[in-house]
């Protein structure tokens, strides 16, 4: 019996050793976490930018494997003006904050909407785009004013979106038809199950552009939110650098050029002034 125990111990030891070694080996590659200042980024020669890789037309990868989009256009300029290479990190909506808080990226440029809750977790630079809600409806019966909706008119929303929250809070009398996916909401509108569809204005504008016979009656509803670059909380040098950069870019109408290069195909020229924020100044 004694012998057997000894055998187990002998087996257990290398196992524990192997696990510890594995963890330590991982540390070997570690750099100190936390944010990097502008000087540190310049010194390293690479800025790490977290972007979306599957949100056409803001951040996506084209058929040649290159990052493209409205956010990327700005990222490329930031890299150029910092004089460093760019390492893109593909992020998901749910992990954007974590990437910044652990210093795994220097900047997030992933269609990041400025909200009060997020402001406590990260530092936002000046905004470069507006977002709001929008309402799209068939062109033969455009809904351009919510107060004119009839008693039995129902509005289509996707569950869990800001549109749903907004209508529940501000228009409790309007009947909502809730769908789980973009595709089912789209079908519902096409089958005229509801009189209009409320969603992010970028989504409804793009929808009306692609589908003939639909018009965005209300292009901007509710509180206007903005989209801005974000850095790790407390990274003042980088935040100030970004703010100066965005202000300076306003003078050359950089974001209008960005819109024309990346968003024009999706949203058309008429929404340019509504969506673009130039030089960090919102009206």
């Amino acid at each position: 019996m004694k012998k057997r125990k000894l055998l187990k111990k002998l087996i257990a030891l290398p196992l524990i050793a192997a696990m510890t070694a594995g963890i330590l080996a991982g540390c070997g590659a570690s750099e100190s976490s936390g944010f990097r200042t502008v000087d540190q980024i310049k010194q390293s020669g690479t800025v790490r930018i977290g972007v979306f890789s599957d949100k056409n037309p803001f951040g996506y990868i084209d058929e040649n494997g290159e990052y493209q989009g409205y956010d990327i256009y700005l990222a490329e300029r930031i890299g150029k003006d910092l004089g460093v290479n760019i390492e893109y990190v593909s992020t998901e909506a749910a992990s954007r904050t974590e990437f910044l808080q652990t210093g795994k990226v220097d900047i997030i440029l992933a269609n990041f909407t400025v909200t009060d809750q997020r402001k406590e977790e990260v530092d936002f630079a000046l905004p470069y785009m507006n977002v709001a809600l929008g309402v799209v409806s068939p062109s033969d019966k455009v809904v351009d004013d919510l107060s004119k909706l009839g008693e039995n008119d129902e509005v289509i929303v996707i569950s869990g979106t800001t549109a749903e929250t907004y209508f529940t809070e501000n228009y409790p009398d309007i009947k909502l038809q809730k769908y789980d996916t973009y595709a089912s909401a789209k079908t519902a509108l096409e089958n005229k199950n509801g009189v209009a569809w409320a969603n992010d204005n970028t989504e409804v504008i793009a929808y009306a552009m692609q589908n003939e016979g639909y018009t965005v009656g209300i292009p901007s509803l509710g509180s206007e939110d903005t989209i801005a670059p974000a850095v790790t909380k407390g990274n003042e040098t980088l935040l100030n650098w970004l703010n100066d950069e965005i202000t300076a870019l306003g003078e050359e109408k950089f974001f209008h050029a960005d819109y024309e290069a990346t968003l024009m195909d999706t949203y058309g020229a008429e929404y340019e002034d509504q969506l673009v924020v130039e030089g960090g100044k919102t009206e």
Binding site: K5, K8, I11, A12, P14, L15, A18, M19, G22, I23, G26, C27, A29, S30, E31, S32, S33, G50, S53, D54, K55, N56, Y60, I61, D62, E63, N64, G65, Q68, V89, S90, T91, E92, A94, S95, E98, F99, Q101, T102, G103, K104, Q210, D265, T266
Partner: protein, 225 residues
């Protein structure tokens, strides 16, 4: 072709990118599986121990792995370790750690099951024939255990391979993520791309898992003689 949305795969380097994504998936899962197999066998033998403390610790480890969603483990290792201990793992290292941590526990439990299922008379007959303890393990116990293990561990391996689709959350671009990138990049021009791309990814996973199943049934046949 266009209605099925397969055409997008032949645009630019899309198909090669999808294959590249598959390689990331296969590579990370194979490394994790290899580590899990080795550590899992050791852990399984440890789990057969009659020592109370060892039993309790292994039990806790196993339950933690079973209860925790792999996504949570990934976030803990990739982000949590950086916050708490200043350990900055690369996303790929974090994946291997999490998948090996998970695989070792599950594999260990399979090994424990297989070892304890060997009837006592097998040991006794072996000792009666004059085999030493290590000989008994080498000639009698391990071969029988391995045979029982194969179908179970294949199940585990394919499950691990499929679960790697979660690692996109920490920034690793594997086959699913590449697929989503291709679908989204073409959502204006080929709205049906989702069907074709996902069908192709399904085929890819099948191609990656099928040889493992084949190998398993071959080994099973060979060892049953």
């Amino acid at each position: 072709m266009e209605a099925l949305g397969i055409d997008v795969l032949f645009k630019g380097s899309n198909f090669m990118r999808l294959l590249g994504g598959l390689w990331v998936t296969v590579e990370l899962s194979l490394i994790s599986v290899a580590i899990s197999m080795v550590l899992g066998v050791l852990f399984g033998i440890i789990m057969t121990s009659k020592n109370k403390a060892v039993k309790i610790i292994s039990r806790i480890y196993l339950e933690v792995v079973r209860i925790m969603p792999q996504m949570v483990l990934l976030f803990i290792v990739f982000f949590g370790a950086t916050r708490a201990f200043d350990l900055n793992f690369s996303a790929e290292t974090a994946c291997v750690i999490v998948f090996a941590f998970w695989g070792t526990a599950e594999m260990g439990d399979l090994v424990r099951g297989a070892v304890t299922a060997i009837p006592k008379h097998q040991y006794e007959s072996s000792y009666a024939l004059g085999l030493t303890k290590s000989q008994t393990y080498y000639y009698i116990v391990i071969p029988q255990t391995l045979r029982r293990l194969i179908p179970l561990s294949i199940n585990l391996v394919t499950r691990m391979m499929k679960t790697t689709s979660l690692i996109m959350m920490i920034g690793v671009v594997e086959v699913m993520k590449v697929g989503q990138q291709i679908i989204e990049a073409n959502r204006m021009t080929s709205p049906n791309a989702a069907f074709g791309v996902y069908a192709t990814i399904f085929l890819f996973y099948f191609i990656a898992c099928w040889p493992i199943s084949l190998l398993a049934s071959k080994l099973e046949k060979k060892w049953s003689d």
